[in-house]
């Protein structure tokens, strides 16, 4: 459009005249910040289940000698430090494990002990020796699994009836003990979830202690997020994974 075009020209001319030579009214093009996102990285390639194959021992890696060529290119042999990976690595198939040493023997001199008072609701656990000679029955209390809210270890009122039923059974079977397994959904970090699963198991344990079961009869264990009941990634699955399961322990006959 002619009038507008002329106006533009006039403006440019005026600006140049008014501001003098060398003054730019157009901004310098801005170079994008340096620092790259890198080349696109291919996504994970998980082509089906990975079969665990036999582990082949690593052949010893010959050490790397670093040589600076001189005029005559003399090869210098030295004893360089190990560059790593020089020894065969064998998996532990369990047969070479040292027999289960119950809690390592404390030194004969009594260590300095800080006596901390036990806050309510944190009853110390029985010795793990008491688990010996007990046989687990995982199906017995399968219907009594207790469920939890997200990031919570509180035994809700609606769940307490299930724990009560377990408590009644334990009262009727004084020779039996109980393992409480705590579980989480996948939405926390792994070790946080491991601790949260333990808190859930402990909360159920505390509930049963109040119910009247003796503290030397209940053990806890956490599986974190590693043993989901439903291996899917939605709220329906997650709500089924936030749980505490009961395992009846019968004395070995």
């Amino acid at each position: 459009m002619k009038p507008f075009g002329i106006a533009n020209l006039l403006v440019v001319a005026t600006a140049l005249a008014l501001t003098g030579a060398g003054c730019k009214h157009v901004q310098k093009p801005v170079t994008p910040l340096q620092g790259s996102r890198g080349a696109p990285v291919p996504g994970p390639n998980l082509a089906g289940p990975v079969k665990p194959g036999p582990v082949t021992p690593v052949a010893p890696v010959a050490p790397v000698t670093s040589v600076t060529p001189t005029n005559g290119v003399t090869k210098i042999t030295t004893n360089p430090p190990d560059v790593g990976g020089g020894q065969p690595v064998k998996p532990d198939d369990g047969t070479r494990t040292t027999p289960i040493v119950q809690n390592p023997t404390p030194p004969s001199a009594a260590p300095k002990e800080t006596i901390l008072t036990t806050p309510p609701g944190e009853t110390p656990q029985p010795s793990i020796d008491l688990l010996e000679n007990m046989v687990p029955d995982e199906g017995y209390f399968a219907g009594q699994t207790v469920y939890f809210d997200f990031d919570s270890a509180v035994v809700r009122k609606t769940q307490q009836g299930r724990a009560d039923a377990v408590g009644d059974e334990l009262k009727a079977k004084p020779e039996c003990k109980l393992m409480v397994d705590g579980h989480c959904d996948e939405r926390g970090t792994e070790e946080y979830n491991r601790a949260l699963g333990e808190r859930r198991a402990l909360a159920v344990r505390e509930y049963l202690l109040k119910f009247g079961i003796g503290p030397d009869r209940i053990f806890t264990r956490t599986w974190g997020e590693n043993r989901p009941a439903v291996d899917a990634h939605n709220e329906d699955a997650w709500s089924k994974n936030r749980r505490a399961e009961f395992i009846l322990l019968n004395p070995k006959q």
Binding site: P88, E190, Y192
Partner: protein, 395 residues
Amino acid sequence: MKPRNRRFWLGWMGLGLAAWAASGTAAQVEERITIPRETIGSTPPIPIAMTGYSGEAGSVLRFDLEIAGFKIVPEAEAQYLLQGGSSGQVEGRLQDLVSKENKFAKAYSGGTARTQAHALADDVVLAVTDKAGIARTKIAFKVTRGANSEVYIADYDAHGPQAITADKTVVAAPAWLPGHRTLYYTTYKFGNADIVSQDVDTGNRQIVARYSGSNISPALSRDGRHIAMIMSKGGSPDLWVANADGTSLRQLTRSPEDESSPTWSPDGSTICFATKIDGRRTLATIPASGGRVQRLKTSGVPSPTEPDWSPDGKSIAFTSQMGGFEICVVPAQGGEARLLVSGEDPSWAPNSRTLIITRRGSGGQRFLSLLDVPTKQTKDIGQSIGHCSQPSWAR
């Protein structure tokens, strides 16, 4: 022109200028800059050109340099030039193109092409940055298949992975004993969550903590003499310390909240861990000899967890949970947290510069990634191994 006419014309110019500005032409001159989040606050990578390399050694060299904070560019844009070859033995001559200085010229023999390329990459890093490289370091991590998992070790780029357990159950949180080829981890092999230590080369292992309840999240002090771990035998998951063989147990915290993920300061005086104070998730510190728990400030990000103290003592990397998981770094005394990339469970390399993290993909996939903290460049690794998580860098 008479003065009166000049003023008259300037007046019209002014109006024209106003009209022109309003027309939006001015706006077309501005460039809109979208700054990618990854580059905010990051250092530009060092431009280097590589000539003469090919095959496996070439790609290993390229990987090592990129994760060390370099960018491979054509010679015309480069600050450094690495010339050499990789057929037969790996060789390299490094020149500073700006100062015209020849930094070094080396040939490598022995080992494999990969090891030679790693050695050359480390020499480049040392020559340019005056700091030791990490191309020949090792990592440990967990590989999950179905309901079970095993502990693996590999090169830092996940090459050559090897299982060191065959427990056919759940394992968790491998942690190196500093300066040794010994790994601590939790295994459920004996019917409980127990902490064991294993000599990686012989396969021999020993029980370190097998108490009622759960024994989890081992962390070893830098001098290799002490272990921090989370145990619930006292009735709640608390922080305990002991000698590295599990003797001389001492309880450091007693709270109804759960503590998790302890990490030692490199001087062995302090332990940092994740906990809840006044109902809010936070990082905290406690003297390793026992004492008061103090909150560690991580301003600007919510729900910090999984701290790892850098070997030089200056920084703590951690996971922030904000919808997804984000890797953050904070000064070791606390303060403003710096957001880096998406991911969780960071572990520092011996250079206090590189992190290895876990990332989640869709459908529950987990894989490892290396992160160069200053440039924020990342490399995903080990995708063909399976679901990988909980990495620990040998330091």
